[in-house]
Chain length 309, copies 2
């Protein structure tokens, strides 16, 4: 039967990796036998956070059913974002802060989703509800996740609850939020030495929208111009991915984390859906979306509506 | 925009009706403007509970979008069990204890499902998490829901958490659980004066299993023989419903609440699925399932597996 595996989504970000570690820790404290694992490479930002708090990265897995029949999902619920053999294992729990889609079970489970900015904010509640003390390093990881998902509280996904949680966690972890946060975000926005393929798969997710498969990738940058200079090469790679995965659309959002906007590069057979969604023309397959920094709140829902409508 | 409507599933049972009332009360206490409503007739058991604690039944609605654009679902999440125009409103929250299926949103929401025996057990936690006092009548309604869903703690769906919650609520409501519980269950099992159509729709739910639509109805009885004597007439009505709703299967479980077993009457083009699921033959479209009292735990999952397999 094996340990219960705890993991987040493919192309893991800081919230996904740290939530797997932290929730597995919590479950073990209340007497369950779990192990955090990951479905992809640890990115530079997450690596920075793990080193800061002296925690090992979880083990990489390609499939789950070969070693367990029970899993816990954190930071995602959509099947296509999960481990490839998700259908062959039983999902015991889901802790998430995204929309619910393409998810079903044949038996009741613990499913806890809240419309907050970060899974870690929910995890903090779960520590309290279970009366488990939060060690300094776990607090540091949860804080890192909130800073990452909220872009230091600038994202529209960020709620009062996230801010309160971050302040509480910063006290336990004993770090200065602004100082540590900016250093961590900069570590994540360091794109040097990355190939175009690596860039677009750093934080990419596939969504089902009506009958269509849409991939939306996001790259955080201090200097978006650096990424946009590679547009021709990026488009070639997007076109390949579109064919490979039978996508209707690929949206790459290059997010300027200092000025809080995103330039999107759009490819695929349905680029007009993006023009409809934002009511602006694509010029040279590109558009600047003022104030848009959140895929979850400002891209996925508007595109979903247009594809369904 | 209208009030936020709070409702449970079609063919409401005690947990669905009382959870709508109780959760709406809780939401209003924390400053939201909600109203509990119902999607069907109040059954005898629920009526007994409402009278005992002097609470009015919620208002009946046929559709939601004509009066609001925001709803909260309690005690269900599957679309086909909800209000008919569920696609036209936004689901803000779900509080449930069933499997998750045929549910999706385009935006994040508060989704709280736990594998406990009753929605009321989760609601008790939510009162505590929100620091809201529980009035006597609300405690009485939550207690009634737990007794109903757990058949006075005899159902395999009943967890330690449900029992602890029931005891806590009985104290607040100031009632003797055994005495009150048995009287309430008996009120629900009083089938006198009910037509066959009424009997089979008292507590009926439609499930999607693979490509198939399966309806599973349950009737609680003190004397199952009373219901089984009507088998011929029941079968005629089931056959009509099967055609009307394009069902692959209809299972009617007549549950003996004193002896904790169920006799099923099965109709439709796929009755062999039931024989496979329980590894026993149907004789005269009927079988006795020893120890089976829970649709959620002992019927839906096994049938789902067989239909998918």
């Amino acid at each position: 039967m094996g340990k219960i595996l705890v993991f987040g989504h493919k192309n893991p970000d800081t919230d996904t990796i740290t939530s797997a570690i932290v929730y597995s820790y919590l479950k073990n404290q209340v007497g369950q036998d779990t192990e955090p694992v990951r479905l992809g490479e640890v990115n530079g930002e997450t690596q920075f956070a793990l080193e800061q708090f002296n925690v090992e990265a979880p083990r990489f897995i390609e499939t789950a059913a070969n070693e367990t029949d029970q899993v816990i999902l954190v930071d995602h619920n959509e099947r296509q974002q999960s481990v490839i053999d998700i259908e062959e294992v039983r999902v015991l729990e889901v802790i998430d802060h995204h929309r619910i889609s393409n998810f079903e079970t044949s038996e009741p489970l613990y499913f806890r989703a809240e419309p907050v900015g970060c899974t870690a904010t929910i995890l903090l509640k779960l520590f309290k509800e279970n009366n488990v003390d939060i060690p300094k390093n776990m607090a540091g990881l949860m804080l890192s996740a909130i800073i990452s998902d909220s872009l230091l509280f600038k994202s529209p996904t960020c709620t009062e609850e996230d801010i309160t949680a971050a302040n509480e966690l910063a006290q336990i972890a004993d770090v200065n939020i602004e100082e540590y946060g900016l250093a961590m975000l900069k570590a994540g926005a360091d794109l040097s030495g990355k190939s175009v393929s690596q860039l677009i798969s750093l934080d990419a997710k596939v969504f089902e929208m009506g009958e269509h498969k849409v991939e939306i990738a996001q790259v955080n940058a201090i200097d978006p111009g650096e990424v946009l200079a590679l547009q021709k090469e990026i488009e070639d790679v997007l076109d390949l991915v579109i064919v490979e995965k039978s996508l209707s659309l690929f949206v790459l959002a290059v997010t300027d984390i200092l000025n809080s906007n995103s330039t999107i590069i759009v490819r695929g057979a349905h680029t007009e859906k993006v023009e409809q969604a934002y009511n602006l023309p694509l010029v040279n397959n590109q558009a600047l979306l003022e104030g848009v920094v959140s895929r979850k709140k400002q891209i996925v829902p508007v595109l979903t509506e247009v594809f369904k409508g």
